[in-house]
């Protein structure tokens, strides 16, 4: 029976999606809250449900490094990690994207140490912004599950060939049990073609990977990566539609709007906080507040045109960030949104709020307070500088 809902843990839903995508090599290291994904995948391997090489490596650094080798041989490759593990991979992330190896990784978003904290925020993946990896953010478990084949197809597209992170909020999505449609094998086989790269390590046709490029050639490697990100921008939209045609589910392409078209106040966010924002909007709309949502699915490539287009009727913009650039007092989404509006005739105030760090809960009241501040700023025609939205007064 198609579209049968099953109540499973978020991690299981993603692991199941990985299974039906049939990776050849999985290499991973356990770390909270990603652990359940690799445990579930190991069980699939142990039960013979997935035919792949599963590597229990000694660190996240080796997890990603092994996949660099495997991907260069022509394997479909997968890992998942979080937080400190992703930070440990940092150097190799640049290397994978520079060699144009379409490794796919689920990043279960979590805060970074110190102080040590295992709970959710998005500082980990945001801190890898410039590594040349595609970054998509999922709103709920079903979207995380559905993002997996989309991101394999995107990364492995011959005109893209970039590694990609599918980001899901730690615990809030990874550990929640909710009704999900587990991806069907036959539909996934229809949606996701085999990975058949043109350039591989093969004794029959020797090639060199990872050569030394001096100042006369280095720039063009970076330029080509940027070009590929441009292609990815278009493909993300196309793939979301293709996915919808086959599976009948759609979450927006690069961005998605909710009560957006007539909204004076537009809240922008990424990840699981979207659900809370939607509920808050429903409530505020009943009180006559003109508020809507612009969900950002793709953070890299950043959808500059799509964001500009979606914001054209906004009077004031609120960005929500579960990360901070310490020393700038704002989060990454805030910076990006400001930057993409700057070289236009659009003069819309942007208020950046940082919240939910280290797993701090984001109740609807926090969003209501934020919207109230925006309303006040709009009324008095004043600006509000970015800052934390949920600081405790007693600490």
């Amino acid at each position: 029976m198609k579209n049968k809902m099953t109540v499973v843990e978020g991690s299981y839903a993603v692991a199941h999606s990985v299974k039906v995508c049939k990776p050849n090599v999985i290499s991973a290291y356990p770390i909270t809250p990603q652990t359940h994904i690799v445990e579930d995948l190991s069980q699939f391997v142990a039960d013979g449900e997935i035919d792949c090489e599963y590597m229990n490596v000694e660190s996240e650094f080796s997890a990603i490094s092994a996949l660099i080798g495997a991907s260069a041989v022509g394997a479909r490759t997968y890992s998942s990690t979080t937080s400190q593990g992703l930070a440990l991979m940092h150097e190799a992330l640049f290397n994978a994207s520079g060699m144009r190896l379409p490794i796919v990784m689920t990043v279960v978003n979590r805060a970074l140490s110190a102080p040590i904290n295992i709970w959710n925020d998005q500082q980990d993946s945001i801190s890898q912004r410039d590594t040349g990896w595609i970054q998509l953010y999922a709103e709920d478990v079903q979207e995380s599950a559905d993002m997996t084949p989309q991101i394999f197809k995107l990364a492995e597209d011959k005109d893209v060939l970039l590694p990609a992170m599918s980001c899901m909020d730690g615990f809030i999505l990874s550990h929640v049990y909710e009704p999900v449609i587990l991806l069907e094998q036959d539909l996934t086989d229809e949606f996701l073609p085999q990975f058949e790269p043109e350039f591989i390590l093969d004794p029959a046709n020797p090639m060199s990977f990872g050569a030394f490029a001096d100042p006369t050639t280095y720039t063009e490697f970076r330029y080509r990566q940027e070009e590929a990100m441009g292609v990815a921008l278009k493909k993300i939209e196309t793939l979301a539609n293709e996915f919808n045609d086959i599976y009948g589910r759609y979450y927006g392409g690069l961005v998605d709007g909710y009560m957006l078209d007539d909204a004076e106040i537009v809240v922008m966010a990424m990840g699981s906080v979207i659900g809370t924002v939607k509920d808050t909007i429903d409530m505020l709309r009943k009180d006559g507040v003109s508020v809507g949502l612009l969900k950002v699915r793709s953070f890299r490539p950043f959808p500059v045109d799509a964001v500009r287009k979606a914001l054209k009727n906004a009077k004031i913009i609120i960005t929500l960030d579960k990360n901070i650039s310490v020393g700038k007092n704002e989060g990454a989404l805030c910076t990006e949104v400001k930057a993409c509006l700057h070289n236009t005739k659009m003069r819309i105030p942007v208020i950046g709020f940082m919240l939910g760090h280290g797993g701090r809960d984001i109740p609807m009241g926090t969003i209501v307070n934020i919207v109230d501040k925006a309303k006040a700023a709009m009324k008095t025609d004043s600006f509000i500088e970015s800052g934390f939205a949920d600081l405790r007064e007693d600490l």
Partner: protein
Amino acid sequence: MKTGTSLLAPGHRGCAGCCDALAGRFLLDALGKDCIVVSPTGCLEVFTTPYPESSWGVPWIHSLFENAAAVASGVEAALKALGRKNNTKVVSIGGDGATLDIGLQAISGAFERGHDLTYVCVDNEAYMNTGVQRSSATPLYANTTTSPSGRESRGNPLHKKNMPAIMAAHGSPYVATASVSYAPDLMKKIKRAAEIEGPTYVHIHAPCCTGWGFDSSKTIEVGRLAVETAMWPMYEMENGEVTKVRKIKDRKPVEEYLKVQKRFKHLFTKDGAREEVKKIQELADWNAKHFGLE
């Protein structure tokens, strides 16, 4: 010796008398075409692949400084997963810094996982690619740019790390030491290491004329002196036991090896050898006794 037909093409940017270039050439002469080579960052990687050129006549990948063994293990896993392993040998060749220092953890992991690969260390006893800084393979009292001799220093104060023993302790079925100065022996060991299933290790002693301070025509000679003085014992280990050693006839005093290199110049005054030379002689004596070289 094959030269014009070598799978490591000439025209690379290696120094005259380069030990790495010799090791790379001997490696491919021994392995032939059916292999995939993984190089960590280092001299060999840099001078053989100035984009858009490459000396490598076999598939080759360089990722980072510290991850060659992990990359190689991924190569091997992918070949198996894709049904392409057949007789293809997966070999990593890296310097002493990449092997004994920064890449040690990845090597340990790859050997523990038991991949069918061979890791080759080309040991020139310091970070030559960045300008002769000390590594954990630098021998006692050697002068490097980060362990210089001075009024209160006789150079590197620490002993060379015993990497072959570490690899043997991982349960490797085959561990061997070799030298670029003994090419047939070296190639025989590489071949044997590649043929044996599982993670195998060959540690090649490789005199660097620029880093050690000797004339570029003397690379082979200096390497031979290291072996003839027992400063570099040559042996093979199978499953943790020494099974073969290269015997030395008329072992030479270490002074003959030390005196031809500028990195040990501070150990000699116009009145003769300083007492540190005695300590180095003791190390050679220990090697000779421990491995039964005489």
